[in-house]
Amino acid sequence: MTRPAAPAAAAPAGRSVGNMVMLAIIGFIVLSFVILGPGRAWETLFLSPLINALVFLDLLVFGNFGLAIILFTLILRMATIPFTIRQLESTRAMQAAQPQMQELQKKYKDPKRRQEEMMKLYREHGINPLGCAMPMIIQMVVFIALYRALVFVVGGSPESLVGLSQRLYDIPLLQSAIPLDQHFLWLNLGEPDSTYILPLMVGVSTYVQQKMSMTPNANPQMQQQQQMMAWMMPMMLFFLTLNLPSGVGVYWVTSNVFSLFASYYVYGRRALSWRQILLPGPAPAANPESRPSRAELPSNTQADEQETAEPAPSESDAAAPPGRVRPAYGKRRGKRKNRR
């Protein structure tokens, strides 16, 4: 199930096309914000289409707005799956490059030189430092837009219905769905969940999802930051969900569950190990199996090798290409097997 992280040299042409499309979309959005103004552009590009899409999905699922939110989330996550996969692959590639990163950190004392070497290493492994940002940005934009949309669609007050009238397209089919049923399971989708169940679900699923995507880091400071984030993010979302319409929480839980499946697809079965979830931090970075061959190291690295007293990697280490590295948490089990 585990898929190899593609090195930069083998980056598919589709990726650059994807980048172009992404840039075109961002350019279009920026241009719209400049031409229309932030308020109108936000309404036209995000809020109104989202509201109408939700109302349409509500019709598709026979007036169950909770299901409409779940369906919407799944469609959105499917549509942005290239970004998500890219993010996960980038994370995995970073895991694979950890030993080399450690090596470079030890080897080069000059920060500028070290960064240059790091940069080369990233290119080698196909790591895009900004690649992780896009799914996050999409998530956050949708999160904010969905929150605003829910205020209007199932805001739970006649005032919000007046607001909805300004945003609902003049399509009889959509109009026939109003007002939407606010009830889903034990929730009133327009109001915060006072039972704490949904906020807890959001917190727990976010925590698990965070742990799945955490990478071992050579820098202890960074590792500490990661661990802090693994707790902070779920806690923040827990408190946020306590005060937001439950529909937003339903979106968040669904999105997290989708992310878990995406992690499973990219990382394989080991990504879902309880050990990984319950351990306080990510698994150690050192992974001899994951070291690339010398030939795969950047030329500068090879040249500078002479300056250092690093022991040469073993044959078996050199044989393993960087892309075929198991994630660090997977490695532990392997070691145990060896011991046995």
Binding site: M140, Y147, R148, S157, S165, D170, S176, P179
Partner: protein
């Protein structure tokens, strides 16, 4: 920022960048969530004048009795006591019904309340399944309430001495949808507009559907059903159409299409119905055939949820943005305005005739200098008091605004003011 820039600026690593970005995005999300307030129900009940008392919701979820002369508060419900503060009515959306010394109204908390009209003490409350947003109707000791739970309840007032029977023991009619609009009681028939687009005509006593009556549109009916004349019943809603129906059969006589939803009830004057939609368009429609009577509709700057009000020779329109306009009812041209209230307004304006003493200075009450050209001649008292007609507007949140319908000028020292409790 290019990748290299990030990597070459010392300690910034991609992972650190990701974390920082995540924190910034969460911050933005929290900020956006905080700034964008959840649309809490405030209510938009219009004032009701009965004898010498003006009943109005001056705060979200609070009903007050005011003196119409100086707008001073007689009582407030729930009162500002420990017991009263436990009650949260959430919002009141329709004018109360007053019968003798009792006042009845529905609230967004799903209850129907009965209060003593003299002092505002609670007599009883009846719990429906969902919010009550439309006006109630009263006939022969029965109180009719339409609820968002889709049921029309016919409550025998005598059965509510202290505690009302539970709702499943009260006669009711299930519309199968939700009820947002006010009820209309004509003789023995009660009209119930439902959000599935159906208009029900029921016998008030038996709650059985009136035989031969049927009307259904494709979208919800939000507008209060209005009897324009003996032969014309007006309804409208989310499909942006105003329908004129035969009140006996429900047959459509004509329909008039607006630019957006019709929510505010029309003002009927002779053979003309004035109506506004949520795009801010105001129309004059002939009751005979549904033709527009103005060369073009008047367009307010914002949605108009409030009903139009004909005050003398001026049609007063109040937009959601608080802009108030005076129109010529003959052709829809602007006579004055917009007068800026500075508050959001969704409730119907109310025409209030009163006698003003110059000693009154608090709140929105007018000063002697504000006595308008519309002052009623001969209404002075001792050469000091002035009689006048003002348009009273309840803004969202409960502030009271008064304007002179003749020219749109403020009818008090302040155009809008909070009523001190």
């Amino acid at each position: 920022m290019k990748e290299e820039d990030i990597l070459l600026t010392g300690r910034t690593s991609p992972r650190g960048l990701g974390l920082a970005g995540l924190l910034v995005l969460i911050g933005i999300a929290v900020l956006a969530a905080g700034c964008a307030s959840v649309a809490n129900p405030d209510g938009w009940a219009p004032p009701t004048l009965v004898d010498d008392t003006l009943y109005v919701s001056i705060e979200p979820g609070r009903m007050a009795a005011l003196d119409p002369e100086d707008l001073s508060v007689k009582w407030v419900f729930p009162p500002d006591t420990d017991e009263g503060n436990k009650l949260d009515l959430e919002g009141i959306y329709a004018a109360p019904v007053v019968d003798g010394d009792t006042i009845y109204f529905g609230a967004y908390d799903g209850n129907v309340y009965a209060l003593n009209a003299d002092d505002g003490t609670a007599l009883w409350r009846f719990e429906t399944g969902d919010p009550v947003t439309g006006a109630l109707a009263l006939k022969d000791g029965r109180l009719y309430a339409g609820s968002n739970d889709g049921r029309l309840y016919a409550l025998d007032i005598a059965s509510c001495t202290n505690v009302c029977p539970p709702r499943d023991q009260v006669p009711s009619f299930d519309t199968g949808s939700s009820i947002w609009a006010s009820l209309l009681l004509v003789d023995d028939v009660i009209y119930v507009a439902a959000m599935d687009g159906r208009l029900h005509a029921l016998h008030a006593v038996t709650l059985e559907p009136a035989s031969g009556f049927s009307f259904k549109t494709d979208a919800g009916l939000l507008m209060d059903p209005t009897l324009a004349d003996d032969d014309t019943l007006l309804v409208g809603g989310i499909d942006s159409k105003l329908y004129a129906l035969d009140p006996k059969t429900g047959d459509e006589k004509w329909s008039f299409e607006g630019g957006n939803w019709f929510w505010g009830r029309p003002w009927v004057d002779g053979d003309t119905a004035f109506i506004a939609d949520l795009d801010g368009n105001v129309y004059a429609v002939a009751l005979a055939g549904g033709e527009p009577l103005w060369p073009k509709p008047f367009n307010a700057d914002a949605a108009v949820r409030s009903a139009p009000l004909l005050a003398g020779d001026t049609l007063v329109i109040v937009g959601r943005d608080g802009k108030t306009y005076g129109l010529n009812p003959d052709d829809g041209t602007r006579q004055w305005g917009p007068t800026l209230l500075g508050k959001s307004v969704l409730s119907n304006p109310f025409l209030l005739a009163r006698t003003i003493s110059p000693s009154v200075t608090t709140g929105p009450s007018p000063s002697p200098a504000a006595a308008s050209p519309s002052a009623t001649p001969g209404a002075t008292a001792g050469g000091m008091a002035v009689g006048e007609t003002v348009v009273l507007i309840v803004a969202q949140g409960g502030d009271l605004c008064t304007i002179d319908p003749a020219d749109g000028s403020p009818a008090g020292a302040l155009i809008c003011a909070e009523v001190p409790l």
